[in-house]
């Protein structure tokens, strides 16, 4: 029993929240609402999986919100202004995003900058590039094929949810069942030991920042498609929410601990709390107050569960 609580403390918090909400509002346990929660959390889930991987190596990625905005804007701009088909526009946007991730990795590995600072710089640079590219105005994308990415359904399941599920599965297989993935834990656990054991620390770090940027780019494109428009200010604060989700899901800020499933649990804790606060008709201002409080309480509970 003790082992169970330790291992699944996040899951217990999530279940308790769901139980509380299903008693306090009749809408919570409807199929429509549950699908809604999954759909609304899919963006955060994709970003958090990427950020979580940087945290495994004892890093952090503050640039994801800017990267998401940047890639959404590039994709929208290429489709609307350059008349590029989505099959060309999306890969170009994703590559542009990954190159920002590469910049993070290079600054950290070869510039010896702390990840916090390197990705903070890229956060500012990415947001600036987005504002310059869009001239500060939203770009509307009426292209039906593009809009389908954010609003379409396949066999009744929303496309963003399918993309999220595919990325979750990939992330799980990568972290748990490949050597490169497992090496990330070693890098985060103790960089020097990992290096002495023959693991290429530089390669692992470059990889995670590119993965994180790829995830952010994907999320940015889905978000743009869902709203039919690329907003230059989109994704502000997304980095902090993603980090919060990863931590709630048992990822350590100091590296070496965390899993794809854990991150998903953290993401859904945040998603269910947001949904619950909306259903309970709490003003958006107090929602922030309560979220801050719940966040700290959940981390404390998780810490105690692990200790006992």
């Amino acid at each position: 029993m003790r082992g169970l609580i330790q291992r699944f403390s996040g899951l217990f918090i999530l279940l308790a929240l769901c139980l509380f909400l299903s008693f306090s509002t009749e809408y919570f346990l409807t199929q429509r609402n549950l699908v809604n929660i999954v759909l609304q959390t899919s963006i955060l889930a994709i970003v958090a999986l990427g950020v979580g991987m940087t945290m495994l190596t004892a890093g952090i990625d503050l640039s994801v919100g800017s990267v998401a905005a940047f890639c959404g804007a590039i994709a929208a701009g290429l489709i609307v202004e350059s008349q590029l088909g989505i099959w060309l526009a999306i890969p170009v946007a994703v590559v542009a995003g990954i190159s920002l991730g590469l910049l993070n990795g290079l600054l950290i590995v070869y510039g010896s900058l702390p990840p916090f600072i390197a990705t903070l710089a890229t956060m500012a640079i990415g947001r600036g590039l987005t504002l310059v590219y869009t001239d500060g105005r939203p770009i509307t994308v009426p292209d039906p094929a593009f809009v389908f990415i954010g609003n379409g359904e396949v066999l009744g399941v929303p496309l963003p949810v399918i993309i999220m599920a595919a990325l979750l599965l990939t992330a799980y297989l990568f972290l748990a069942h490949t050597r490169t993935g497992r090496n990330l834990y070693a890098i985060g656990g103790n960089e020097k030991t990992a290096h002495l054991a023959g693991i290429s620390v530089a390669r692992g770090k470059l990889l995670v920042y590119m993965i994180s940027a790829f995830a952010a780019a994907t999320a940015g494109i889905i978000l743009t498609a869902r709203l039919w428009s690329a907003q230059p200010t989109t994704g502000m604060g997304l980095e902090l929410e993603a980090i919060a989700a990863a931590v709630l899901g048992g990822t350590s800020l100091f590296g070496g601990r965390g899993s794809a499933w854990g991150i998903m649990v953290g993401v859904f804790i945040i998603g269910v709390v947001s949904n619950g606060l909306n259903l309970l008709e709490i003003s958006s201002y107090y929602q922030q107050v309560i979220k801050g409080f719940v966040f700290i309480m959940a981390v404390i509970l998780d810490m105690y569960a692990r200790k006992k």
Partner: protein, 313 residues
């Protein structure tokens, strides 16, 4: 050994100084208004807000912590102060209440970190959401405008031709300098950041000093907020968004290690000046504000890489 360390520290500082001198040279070439006394005073006045916050941030970072909540604490403190003045409370009392509130929220951060052992990043991230939400809820999202004329002296007044914000920031830096280099507390803070357990075993009250630095950071954030609203004549609930990042950037550019235990206040001062000069230059050269982030990000990265290179000498 001690002397070698002194030389190394000197080189690190001079690397930053050289960076600033190059920047001044480039900016003077780009704009002939840059090197005028009026503009230099302007830079210092703009730097004072971030400067005051950065002193508190540096104390926290020295102990291997971080404070993401300064912008939100600033916002909550100023809307409460402005509102109390609107309710005819004397400005001095209202400001004291705001500063105490900032200190209280900072203390809660410190308590969470030292007593409950929540990582500083998490505790202050939660506080950031909590305090910002309270500021928005307290004001209903609307700014509180029209402040007491006496209170506004804090932001707009001159003493011996020097703007008040600069004087207050100078006093805060002086106090920080004395605290860090002339008192036992300063030595304790470095020890705490270097190795928390060793500090505890050598009899330093680590819990007390952790609460102390976070409280100081909260009070200083509130103080800089008072100056800011006194200048703007308005307290907005969204004020101070993102200020934590500017303060952290200034502290880190100034050579303080995010891992704690290492750094000098003079470096932080230089970091604050670099950021203020950048902002000023972007305004003077009429560069679109859209480029602000790009330039700022690149300069932060460049300054730190330069730092690293000098350190390796």
């Amino acid at each position: 050994m001690e002397k070698m360390r002194g030389i190394k520290a000197y080189l690190q500082q001079s690397g930053l100084l050289i960076f600033i001198l190059i920047m001044v040279g480039v900016l003077a070439l780009l704009s002939d208004r840059f090197l005028t006394p009026a503009n230099l005073i302007n830079i210092l006045r703009q730097a004072s807000i971030n400067g005051i916050i950065s002193v508190g941030m540096m104390l926290v970072i020295l102990t291997a912590g971080i404070d993401l909540s300064v912008g939100a604490i600033l916002a909550l403190s100023v809307v409460v102060t402005a509102d109390l003045m609107h309710r005819d409370l004397p400005p001095l009392l209202a400001a004291t209440a705001g500063l105490s509130l900032g200190g209280l929220l900072g203390f809660v951060n410190g308590w969470l970190v030292s007593r409950i052992k929540v990582p500083p990043f998490i505790a202050t991230l939660g506080m950031m959401s909590f305090a910002r939400g309270l500021a928005l809820a307290y004001t209903g999202g609307k700014p509180v405008t029209g402040l007491d004329a006496g209170f506004r002296f804090l932001g707009t007044g001159l003493v011996a031709h020097i703007p008040m914000p600069i004087i207050i920031a100078a006093l805060v830096f002086l106090a920080g300098y004395l605290l860090l280099s002339q008192t036992r507390i300063g030595a304790y803070l470095y020890a705490l950041g270097e190795n928390r357990e060793a500090a505890l075993f050598s009899g330093i009250a680590t819990g007390f000093y952790t609460k102390f630095v976070f409280t100081a950071s909260g009070v200083l954030a509130a103080l800089s907020g008072m100056i800011l609203i006194a200048r703007l004549d308005s307290a907005q609930p969204v004020i101070g968004l993102g200020y934590e990042f500017d303060a952290i950037a200034a502290v880190v550019i100034g050579g303080t290690s995010l891992a704690g235990g290492e750094g000098r206040l003079s470096g932080t001062l230089l970091g604050v000046l670099i950021i203020a000069m950048l902002n000023n230059a972007l305004n003077l050269t009429n560069v679109s504000s859209f480029y602000e982030g790009i330039v700022k990000g690149m300069v932060i990265a460049l300054a730190l890489i330069l730092h690293g290179l000098v350190r390796k000498l």
